[in-house]
């Protein structure tokens, strides 16, 4: 088996993988023109596949899957119980398009982008199309995507649209047709990138041999366009996400990281004096470009949906006045309306003076009696659905071929056609083309829909040389949707000549479109701070539980009262020590995962995986373990995972300001925990064994022995665990670190070191630093504990508001 050499494009087709490929005679096949006749663009891949043994192919596919698992690529599946994260369903074989064919396709999409821009401008502008009778009023006035507050808007730079997606299907004759336009907040471009990286793990060698076009240039050019859309370099560029529970949040975080953009939610923004601002830890900072990934209606509770909790009050008014560039303009979702397809051919002549280069699938809006009658006559053979639907025909449960409708539903549609055809749209179904999908060691033809992307760049609209293919799980077109078990595939555009090598990195040197430094959103800082606290709180709880369980295993009779005292201490953390794996520990881990998930774009892939590993380990432990030795082992495992995450953060996270908040959270929580433990267990009347316990929880047994030899007193323990400036577990050490990190935070009010927060940490640090061990009484420690809680509030007030 030769793995490293590129396959020979002239090798004979030995009929291995492809020999068993059974074409569907009723559909166009992407790979084969006829049985035994492979299309030229596919030849290198087919040759390679046929040369692979089953093991070789399996190994290559596994490499792609491992990449996706390691990168943490997932999507959310909605079900009755809520949502679950699922591994990315990659179909390993790419959809391959010849460069020449793709150029024609791209030309057609650029034309369509221009048409949609002109149409959007008319709908939110002077409505000439309605006045001329080219566009029925009903499609706009009754459309939920017609956002009245945005009528008359003047988008920044004069453009409504900047980034579009198109879903395409190929008909039996081999012609591409538009199935739907995605203008609201198209997703998939980031997934296209991930598909590409994963597929390259399987077939990178074949890709290079096929002169595969790269995707990086497309993203670089779009980022440059966004950067140029700002008024000045101080303005930020952000992706606006609905948040971690959205089904494509992973993609939002991925693109933000890939392009160096801010990842923001509605509450991070504020409209002040008509300008869009980000709430950062350094105060309000201007935002020049918003690439939104949520539906426009949710973006402003003041003028759009008043029940939205993920919007920014005043944003609609700011956008109306063109205060920032919005990708795409609020209200652009109306262009997705299915019934519009019936009018686009005529509108193309009117708006851009051209015939549509790529037709959409034939569409009839039944608001006119002629169309309604015609549709009634061919009802069984047409796709029937709601006129104002913005969903794709094959993803919409309400849209069905007439002949497949249940009798009652059919009756309702026929009645609607009779009484109020305005609500009905009919489309000619097409038999989608098929492409090969690997399943159980062989490949079969499955229907495919291509999602292509177009973006504005300095050179006008540009189409991504690639895309995102969705492939059906069965032969049925309706099985393409991911939510119904469909899979995804990379899209290759291959040429006859070697392609130019571009990557994002080249541009960084020239200053590209990076965000200004120091734009850490206050919410992100808040989450990082609490992530630090929760991780540390978990560690403290785990350490105490381990100490408790090991002592309980040795002697549950508790003559000294130490176990009771430990139980009491754990109860102050809401933890029931009698349970081997108390619920509160799982809750805190849930907090870790939740806060971590909200700042996902801040972590490396490894950091994120370590975090998930931690929470998954805990989830797997839960039902079986018993108190005592069993619990000790479980806690030791958790402790190791915690250390793994902390280590990654410490070693790999750049010491930007975000890291400082995480670190401050950890130090503050550690100081609080140790202060509390000392107050309880280092007092004169503490139960026997309390001092040993402190050393164990404080991970300082060996240090104590080395430092104090056989001397063993409350004083030595307080000295080591409260006052030692070099012990990374001591209270004073935490205060010193806090003092340093707080001193490096942004100066928000110009008072520098005289602001309340630095003054307070200075006071706490120096008052403890000058104390003798004997002076550190429980009362002093309790006061310090309260001061630390107040310090946390002060930090919140200073930076997270």
């Amino acid at each position: 088996m030769i793995e490293t050499s590129a396959p020979d494009p002239f090798a004979p087709n030995r009929g291995g993988w492809t020999g068993s490929y059974r074409l569907n005679p009723d559909a166009f096949d992407e790979m084969m023109a006829a049985p035994g006749s492979v299309r030229p663009a596919w030849q290198p891949l087919v040759n390679a596949l046929d040369a692979f043994s089953a093991e070789e192919a399996a190994r290559r596919f596994a490499r792609a899957d491992r990449y996706l698992a390691d990168a943490g690529v997932f999507y959310r599946l909605y079900n009755k119980a809520g949502t679950v994260e699922r591994q990315w369903p990659l179909s390993h074989l790419p959809l391959i398009l010849d460069e020449g064919e793709w150029h024609a396709l791209a030309n057609g999409l650029v034309q369509r982008a221009e048409l949609l821009e002109a149409l959007c401008a008319d709908i939110y502008g002077d409505n000439r199309l309605v006045a001329e009778g080219l566009l029925p009023l009903e499609l706009i006035a009754g459309n939920a995507e017609f956002l009245r507050p945005m009528v008359g808007q003047k988008p920044a730079g004069g453009r409504f649209l900047h980034f579009l997606a198109f879903d395409l299907g190929r008909d039996v004759q081999g012609f591409w047709r538009i199935l739907g336009d995605r203008t609201q907040a198209p997703s998939g471009a980031g997934f296209a990138l991930e598909n590409r990286v994963a597929t390259a793990r399987a077939f990178g060698d074949i890709g290079s041999a096929s002169n595969l076009h790269r995707l990086a240039g497309f993203f670089r050019d779009f980022r440059d366009h966004l950067a140029a859309a700002r008024r000045n370099k101080n303005e930020g560029i952000a992706i606006i996400t609905p948040g971690p529970l959205n089904d494509t949040y992973f993609e939002h975080a991925y693109i933000a990281r890939y392009l160096g953009l801010l990842l923001l939610e509605g509450e991070d923004l504020a409209v002040v004096d008509g300008r869009v601002q980000v709430r950062t830890v350094s105060g309000l900072k201007p935002l020049g470009v918003l690439w939104r990934r949520l539906d426009a209606a949710f973006m402003d509770p003041l003028e759009l949906r008043s029940d939205s909790r993920i919007g920014t009050p005043g944003l609609a008014a700011a956008m109306r006045a063109g205060a920032a560039t919005m990708v795409n303009a609020l209200g652009s979702g109306i262009l997705e309306t299915r019934a519009l397809h019936a009018f686009l051919p005529a509108l193309a002549y009117r708006l851009i003076g051209e015939k549509l280069k790529i037709p959409n699938i034939a569409t009839w809006w039944c608001g006119a009696s002629k169309e309604a009658g015609w549709v009634r006559d061919r009802f069984d053979d047409l796709l029937i659905g709601p006129a104002l639907s913005t969903r794709l025909p094959f993803e919409d449960e309400e849209t069905q071929e007439g002949k497949r409708l249940a009798p009652a539903v059919r009756e309702r549609w026929l009645q609607a056609l009779e009484l109020d055809g305005r609500r009905v749209v009919a489309q000619e179904p097409i038999t989608l083309s098929t492409m090969p999908v690997d399943e159980d060691g062989q490949i079969s033809p499955r229907p495919v829909v291509l999602r292509a992307f177009a973006a504005r760049t300095a050179r006008g609209w540009t189409v991504m040389p690639g895309g995102f293919a969705r492939v059906g799980q069965t032969g049925e077109a309706s099985a393409i949707s991911l939510q119904r078990g469909g899979r995804v595939a990379d899209v290759w555009v291959v040429g006859s000549r070697p392609v130019e090598q571009v990557s994002l990195i080249n541009q960084e040197v020239c200053g590209g479109g990076r965000n200004p430094q120091g734009m850490l959103p206050a919410r992100t800082a808040d989450n990082l701070f609490w992530l630090g606290r929760y991780v540390e709180r978990t560690e403290a709880t785990v350490r105490i539980l381990r100490a408790y369980n090991s002592r309980w295993a040795e002697g549950p009779d508790d003559r000294s009262g130490l176990l009771q005292s430990l139980r009491d201490d754990l109860l102050t953390l809401g933890t029931d020590a009698r349970k081997a794996l108390p619920q509160s520990l799982l809750d805190t881990l849930g907090d870790v995962e939740r806060t971590g998930g909200r700042v996902r774009d801040r972590f490396s892939v490894d950091g994120w995986l370590a975090l998930r590993d931690l929470t998954e380990t805990a989830a797997q432990l839960s039902p079986r373990i018993q108190p005592g030795d069993d619990a000790v082992r479980a806690m030791t495992v958790l402790l190791r995972k915690l250390t793994g995450f902390s280590g990654l953060v410490h070693e790999n996270m750049v010491r930007f300001i975000g890291w400082r908040f995480l670190e401050i959270g950890r130090r503050m929580e550690r100081a609080k925990q140790m202060t509390r433990l000392l107050a309880r267990f280092a007092r004169p009347d503490a139960p026997d064994g309390a001092l040993d316990l402190l050393l164990e929880i404080g991970d300082s047994v060996i240090t104590h022995r080395r430092r104090y030899g056989m001397t063993f007193s409350t004083q030595t323990h307080v000295d080591l665990l409260a006052l030692d400036p070099l012990n990374p577990r001591s209270v004073l050490f935490q205060l010193a670190e806090l003092k340093t990190e707080i001193g490096l935070l942004p100066d928000r009010d110009g008072r520098g070191a005289r602001a309340p927060l630095p003054i307070e940490i200075m006071r706490l640090h120096s008052s403890l630093a000058v104390m003798a061990p004997a002076a550190v009484t429980s009362a002093v420690l309790e006061t310090l504990g309260a001061d630390l809680a107040a310090l946390s509030d002060l930090l919140s007030d200073s930076y997270f508001r």
């Binding site: 309605v130 001329e132 009754g142 507050p149 409209v271 509770p301 003041l302 009050p313």
Partner: protein, 292 residues
Amino acid sequence: MLYDINLTLGYDYGYPVSGAKHLLRVLPDTLNGIQRVQAASVRISPQPTEREDGRDFFNNRTVALSLREAHEELEITMQARVEVQRQTTTLDLSPLLSGLEAEIGSIRSLGFDTPHHFRHETARLRQVEAIAKYAHASASRTQTVRAVVQELGYRIHEDFAYDPDATLVDTSIAEAFALKRGVCQDFAHIMIAACHALGIPAGYVSGFIRTVPPEGEERLEGADAMHAWMRAWCGREAGWIEFDPTNAMLASDDHIVVAYGRDYGDVSPVVGVLQAGGRHRIRQSVDVRPLS
């Protein structure tokens, strides 16, 4: 009739609120054939950080406010002097119900008054089978649109009981319809939905009615707070006709218009977004005094 109108809306949060933004629709406007505003102003306390007066899609006057600093109370006071002189005609110029669709279809404008905006479902105007049936029971295709609308209004007044305790501001029309009780907002919404079911464009009107009735007449319902009624589009000639189902009458010179919309959501007097949630108390007082 000349009126001095005084509206006070008071919010008592009970805790400090900062970074609040509000959108007000409380200022009446001069409307041809209905009313002329001689003076109108809004005072806000505390002083807002930002204030911008404007108009919304339906051409209603709006005031956008920002209150950046912490405040525990907010008071909005609107004062206006408005002369109401409705050109109401007893002449019914509306087409037969059967001919209305053709008139609607001949319109080719998306302007704010276009009837097309006022014939579709909204969040507050969901299609309700029972309301459609109720509407069809009294309407005949051979009646004029105006007659259909008025008859519907009288029936609603007859069949429904005014009961401030029966419904809340977000009670659905299906619920209010089933209860057969409610307040002006419920009656207006139900009547609009009934009109829609008959193919008649109809929308929501917010406003005031005079507080103290002329001598010898009964006090109208809804005088102690902002009031709501509806309007229906009765063809090209007749245009919009306003009807008050709560008081079973066409809008008269006792009705002062503040805002038009599809439903309450389009005209609600204060849309407010506060950073903190929680309970707060609202005071509302309205005084509409005739000067002449």
